[in-house]
Symmetry: C2
């Protein structure tokens, strides 16, 4: 039974946030299973980054294929929609109640459900997810009340949970800004040049420099006063 406290499952995309989470989890748990998803996203370079980083850390890594792209409704997976530059994005706030066009329906719920299955099979006591309500307040499934609701669900969904083996959903970045996340990651030894955050990175993992995700990432390095090691496709339009 005690081995329930040694294992964690990490949702790991190969991006800045989830790589920070992976390093954090490695500092906290004896055994880690990292899982990534292939869901019709335009850039497979983030999956290549995820494999490379898992190998560096000596962590088991699984890629799960999911059918989310069929569902449509997001510029990240729908070839008929274009990924907006940052200044054209619609940002959700409490007055407007609109999500960014890059929002994928139920994505984190589907990701966490698969993580729950892996957690049950691997007898993990935690699932680690890299959501932040500071930078991504536009996504309803990145908020603390959502994470708490999934944790409650998870403990009712499984035999282990019903037996009293608590599963925790841990979001170490929940209240961190991008700059704070970067500082945490650097203290844990993350090499951010290996990570890919861009919504439309090229085949070599080089970032566009202009999408929402690139904008937040750049701003994080600037705010933290750290030199940005990201590989860009070309000189950014503006800084």
């Amino acid at each position: 039974m005690s081995n329930h406290h040694q294992n964690a499952v990490v949702l790991f995309s190969g991006g800045l946030d989830s790589t920070t989470c992976l390093y954090w989890a490695k500092s906290q748990f004896a055994h880690i299973t990292a899982i990534s998803f292939r869901y019709g996203q335009r850039h497979s370079s983030e999956l290549i980054a995820a494999e490379k980083i898992s190998k560096i850390l000596g962590i088991a890594h699984h890629i799960i294929d999911i059918d989310i792209a069929k569902l449509g409704g997001s510029a990240l997976t729908d070839p008929n929609l274009s990924v907006p530059d940052y200044d054209q994005s619609v940002i959700y706030d409490d007055s407007q109640r609109v999500a960014p066009i890059t929002y994928v329906p139920a994505r984190n719920t589907i990701f966490l459900s698969y993580a729950l299955a892996v957690a049950e099979v691997s007898k993990a006591s935690a699932i680690v997810i890299g959501v932040s309500s500071v930078d991504y307040s536009g996504y309803p499934d990145c908020r603390p009340d959502y994470i708490a609701a999934f944790e409650q669900l998870a403990n009712l969904a499984t035999v282990a949970g019903r037996q009293g083996h608590r599963l925790s959903i841990i979001a170490p970045l929940q209240h961190l800004s991008k700059a704070q996340t970067l500082k945490l990651g650097l203290s844990l030894g993350v090499d951010y040049a290996q990570t890919v955050s861009c919504y439309q990175a090229d085949g070599d993992g080089r970032a566009c420099g202009v999408c929402d995700s690139c904008h937040l990432r750049k701003q994080g390095f600037a705010d933290a006063g750290i030199i940005d090691p990201t590989h860009y496709q070309h000189a950014p339009k503006s800084q």
Copy 2:
């Protein structure tokens, strides 16, 4: 906004319970989207049944491929485990706290997560699922507290939910025995000869007659005093 009350998503396997739910949903909602999953289950005959029944009812039907089989841990998807006959099954109860070997890790959570994505895209106000805590008390993710927890999660997970468009998770069979489910279905016009419940049905959809699922189904017809129209592979061992 009002069209949120017209649409429902039904989790539909082509079996006895979910077919009853589909007919029930058709009596309650103007538009139905039925979804099935191909997850490495041994019998694709239930998916064939699901397509046939959807066509009869004129309902949109989608099959979603999921990677659950890789996760292992269930006789339903793991080729190294055999499906037990009813009398060999381990039945979960509150004293033993053991789930049947046919339990698939996090299955209903994964199914409901995809249904949530479809519900969001189709602006549905309900997801209908055919769980029962009478016949399937062995499965933690068939119980009322689990369903309530998923409903709470769903309304925090989506933009629509955050905007106050409530999504309900409806389990019309939750408190019905198999016999009561059959009576409900017959009152709604279900032809149970079309449905496939068996865990190891053959290519023509004929049931083995001896697995856990066949046992419950047979018993339901017997208890309801209804002639069993199921197509069996051979005469049942015992009645």
